[in-house]
Symmetry: C2
Subunit: 309 residues, 2 copies
Amino acid sequence: MKMNDFAQPALAETLPFAAWMGAVQARMDQALARLLPSPGVAPARLHEAMRYATLEGGKRVRPLACFAAGELAGAAAERLEVAAAAVEMIHAYSLVHDDMPCMDDDVLRRGKPTVHVEYDVATALLAGDALQSLAFQLLAEHRLADDPAAQLEMVKALAVASGSRGMAGGQQIDLESTGKALPLPELEFMHIRKTGALIRAAVLLGAACGAALATDERARLDRYVQCVGLAFQVVDDVLDAEASTATLGKTAGKDSKRGKPTYVSAMGASRARQFAEELRREAHAALAPFGARARRLGELADFIVLRKF
Amino acid sequence: MKMNDFAQPALAETLPFAAWMGAVQARMDQALARLLPSPGVAPARLHEAMRYATLEGGKRVRPLACFAAGELAGAAAERLEVAAAAVEMIHAYSLVHDDMPCMDDDVLRRGKPTVHVEYDVATALLAGDALQSLAFQLLAEHRLADDPAAQLEMVKALAVASGSRGMAGGQQIDLESTGKALPLPELEFMHIRKTGALIRAAVLLGAACGAALATDERARLDRYVQCVGLAFQVVDDVLDAEASTATLGKTAGKDSKRGKPTYVSAMGASRARQFAEELRREAHAALAPFGARARRLGELADFIVLRKF
């Protein structure tokens, strides 16, 4: 399949999920390579580190969520790739900072040395900082919605999802809970912020690139993404507990070794798998009234819960 | 003077600069305290660290620049305080990250322990990250311009000023130039990014809160702020070389001790003072055609160049 075939909805709709996912991933690699600063522009080392942190890696779950929600709202791929790139840059920056010695002190990410190992800690700090700025720059400088006021809402949604009541706040709670056995509601409170908030932002931004949804449609989409965001973390915990480092592409078993509370430590692997399955079913139930428009969102929920890596 | 008197232009215009500055600073302290997350909201420690990093300190040069430019464009103080708070949060986050052990490893800032000393390094990292997100949230969620498209331009301006081709890029060049004798053009290239970009953003955002300027007026304002931004850094270098730690409220003489290139090391203190004075005159020349509307901008240039701390 050629890359530009992807932009033709009639063709895209007939693709099996794996092929659709591959096409989105390939499209995102190209978009990110184009939207990131050129490594030839000064300061070159910083730009290289930003590209290293963002390119060639990851399942691109957040871009997939953005494109799947965009399909629901009939959004153009040219808009979706920019919105998805902004979300992915926030995600990439959070991984760079999370891997730093003062946080998780991890040396391996996506099968490669982490940014502070490949470059240095100060460059990793600044590359993460600059990736966050660039995410907001992208949302402001490209036309992503017909109404600029709606586009300001997109900026706000990403900022809230990234900040102290979203992802950064979840990481703070994660830091503070190491060595503690968190009750399930607090574990959920943490993960809704640490992982769920940004996946939710990916879905909201993808939908915002297209035609406006009705209030009840937005509520259903939100219910869907709350289930999927939480399921993503539950499955991550199960995989982290069970997989080997080679399969996972990052240090496996690290959460339990560090005494971090996980769904596996809180409820056991078997019950955690069952919980993820319940969330998957609830996600599908929320999508049901949308019909075929929500096909990719449903498939994405299946992928997130049933993946092996 | 009561705080709300400040919003009455007729009164504000009659204030001597020192009183105007004090009023803006007091207003900003109140605005920041209101716009930062409450320390009672979870995660409390993160929110406390964000407030610690931002409140009670600093000359608020960027907010002063924002308000002074707002006066030129007839902007409402209610808009200016939000725009200025966004810029100040970017500045505060950059100080928190800059003080971290992997960067300047500094323990004193504004006469108080730095954030990573008062809290811990991981919390400092996340507080800085979350302050950056909050800055963009503020620019998106408050009505700051009559035209939402113009407000998206404000988001873009702050993002560009903060990112790899602005402040973060300047810090990277600063890191890489330690121990080197930079030629003057490269020293200027660094400082235009490291310090100048954010002061420029403060002026552009302040002007954008008011009536649109003509193209030639924008060019003059830009010329003004390029001179003032550079002068600010030149004077900082002179003060850092000459002042004591007690006067400065931060570790004095640290740049030269670390082998960082400064205007003093590049051209000597006497010539650096003279250069700052030339920039001050050039800034005034750029403002001249504006007449009385640019009074505060002119006074601010004087304050920046003639200050003793």
